[in-house]
Amino acid sequence: MSQTTSTGAKSGAKHGAAEAAERWLHMYYQMLQIRFFEDQVNDLYRTARMPGLAHLYSGEEAVAVGVCAALRRDDYITSTHRGHGHCLAKGARVDRMFAELLGKESGYCKGKGGSMHIADQDTGNLGANAIVGGSAGIATGAAFSSRWRKSDQVTVCFFGEGALGQGMLYEVMNMASLWKLPIIYVCENNLYNEYTHFSETTAGNLAERAKAFAIPAEEIDGQDARAVFAAAERMVARARTGEGPSFMVANTYRYHGHHVGDISRSYYRPPEEEGFWKTQRDPIELLGDWLVSEQVADTDQLADLRQKAKSDVEAGVQFGLSAPFPAESEVTQDVYA
């Protein structure tokens, strides 16, 4: 079952055509929003208005957006150091995201978290963990809490393939399977752990790992937002009905460096490879082309969405730049309740 699954045209069976169209367009918009957001982040770094160590999600948008489209607002996610896309896909506002990245009071974490640590409990985002694999137990515990409370909330644990090196992933999969927890482990395989190809650090097949714990696993084309959505819907349905965890490997690619400061990259990955993904496998283009060819939208509509996403992001960055820094007294706040 670990073959690449193509979009289930049937996945919309219970959705009306209009509802489906609205969803695809929203997903298209969200992907653009993430793309423009990350472009701005890169710019803020390059113009020395923001410190380094921001890890951009550009290229991987379809994964967060496709998965979160299958979630409700009260479902939980946990995120990673490369987390901007997860936050936005789960419903965070760009202005407060920028404010956080710029260390401002109005940021999601009052400027105390930063790029690698955004949490937004209102949208179910339990927080980004900059310790690779660090969310695995926490996400599993959140799933345990919803099962315990007899809520049908689902938890998604996002992580990069590098986290498969950490033992905790296997420990939680074992437990989640035994306890039939409503959790989906989403492995975003963007091919590199920092500057090393994953094949040099990761033996064997990724999806097979989950199967050893009797957790159903699917390997998905992570550039195809509809395929991601369809798989996520299946996994969410399984979790909501108490059948237990699932594991998704989403094959994807990051367009920029490991972090914003990683600019000359040719020694670890060829520019042709980057070019291939950007021109042939771009998730936004792929969805846009499909929307037009299926006559869900015309090019004017898509251009409008693009413009809207762009101005939304531009307004957000202005908000962040002009927002005030936290008061000095904030430094000692919130250590304890």
């Binding site: 978290g113 930063g114 000095e328």
Partner: protein, 332 residues
């Protein structure tokens, strides 16, 4: 003598020891092809090859676990942890195994292993990437822990550490890698012991006991204080465990006043441990309570404005000194 960076000094130490002993090898995340997050291992892969410069999976626990096992098996591993923050994932193996085996097994295994890792904040890396956690490990019998502040010591102490028969935590600082200092010419053999502090600046009015990056801040503070007629003696401990207490007490007998300055947190940490030792062994020479400069008692905030407030700075050292040193005549 030449002037080189702390980073280059570390690399030279590793390369020289690898040439000297073919059982020495280094492993860590992204250290081979990439040359390490802080570029310490750049070029080593080219010289020593895959067998001795090894990229590992992203798993701190196995880096330390295999380092311990291979050390028992006769190799001399240098394990690089990308940052000290990630040592927490391997802390069980460091504390429950590396530190204990020699004693628990009646003196049997030697674990000649060096764990290199940078700690510290100041680069807006956020709460999980800015910690100075040496206290946690310095607490543990069976571990040695050193924190060189200069390129000279970085090279000399790393060479000693690689030759040592015990597990050594070698704590660097993210903001020290580009600091330059004098180091003997390449090939000119020297080592620095792992249990000796050093007086960096002489003074008669107060002793500043410090280590790692904070040492440089103390030196700056001492220069400022000198303009106001206060002469501070600055002791760079270099080694946290074992600690060179004799050097501290010798200085105390001259100055009768001490300020301990560190980047880490206040409670139950290195500085308090040092202060307690001074009270225990040097109480009669103290003319004032020991001053203590630390980072704020909070996780590191990300925002630049807050991070600067959370980190101990030159002015904090100056204020702590002035609080216990009588102001010279004429000064306000």
């Amino acid at each position: 003598m030449r002037t080189i960076t702390y980073r280059d000094a570390l690399r030279e130490a590793i390369a020289e020891e690898m040439r000297r002993n073919d059982r020495v090898y280094i492993m860590g995340e992204d250290i081979a092809g990439y040359g390490g997050t802080y570029a310490v291992t750049k070029g080593l892969f080219e010289e020593f090859g895959e067998k001795r410069v090894k990229d590992t999976p992203l798993a701190e626990e196995i880096i330390i676990g295999t380092a311990i096992g291979s050390a028992i098996g006769g190799l001399r591993p240098i394990a690089e942890l990308m940052t000290m923050n990630f040592s927490l994932l391997a802390s069980d193996l460091i504390i429950n195994s590396a530190a204990k085996f020699r004693y628990m097994f009646g003196g049997q295994p030697s674990i000649p292993m060096v764990i290199r890792m940078p700690g510290g904040g100041g680069a807006q890396r956020g709460a999980q990437h800015s910690q100075m956690l040496e206290s946690m490990f310095a607490h543990i019998p069976g571990l040695k822990l050193v924190m060189p502040a200069t390129p000279y010591d970085a090279k000399g102490m790393l060479k000693s550490a690689i030759r040592d028969e015990d597990p050594i935590l070698f704590v660097e600082h993210e903001l020290l890698y580009s600091v330059k200092g004098e180091v003997p010419d390449e090939g000119e053999e020297y080592t620095v012991p792992l249990n000796r502090g050093i007086v960096r600046r002489e003074g008669k009015d107060v002793t500043l006991v410090t280590f790692s990056r904070m040492m440089h801040i103390c030196l700056q503070a001492a220069e400022e204080l000198a303009k106001e007629g206060i002469e501070a003696e600055v002791i760079d401990l270099r080694s946290i465990r074992p600690i060179d207490l004799d050097l501290v007490l010798e200085s105390l007998r001259k100055t009768n006043r001490v300020v301990v300055a560190e980047e880490g947190w206040k409670y139950y940490g290195t500085g308090q441990g040092i202060a307690a030792l001074i009270y225990e062994h040097g109480f009669d020479w103290l003319d004032a309570p020991i001053g203590h400069v630390t980072g704020k008692d909070v996780p590191m905030p990300y925002s630049k404005s807050l991070e600067q407030l959370a980190l101990p700075a030159r002015n904090d050292v100056i204020a702590a000194v002035k609080a216990i040193v009588p102001q010279p005549a004429g000064a306000r």
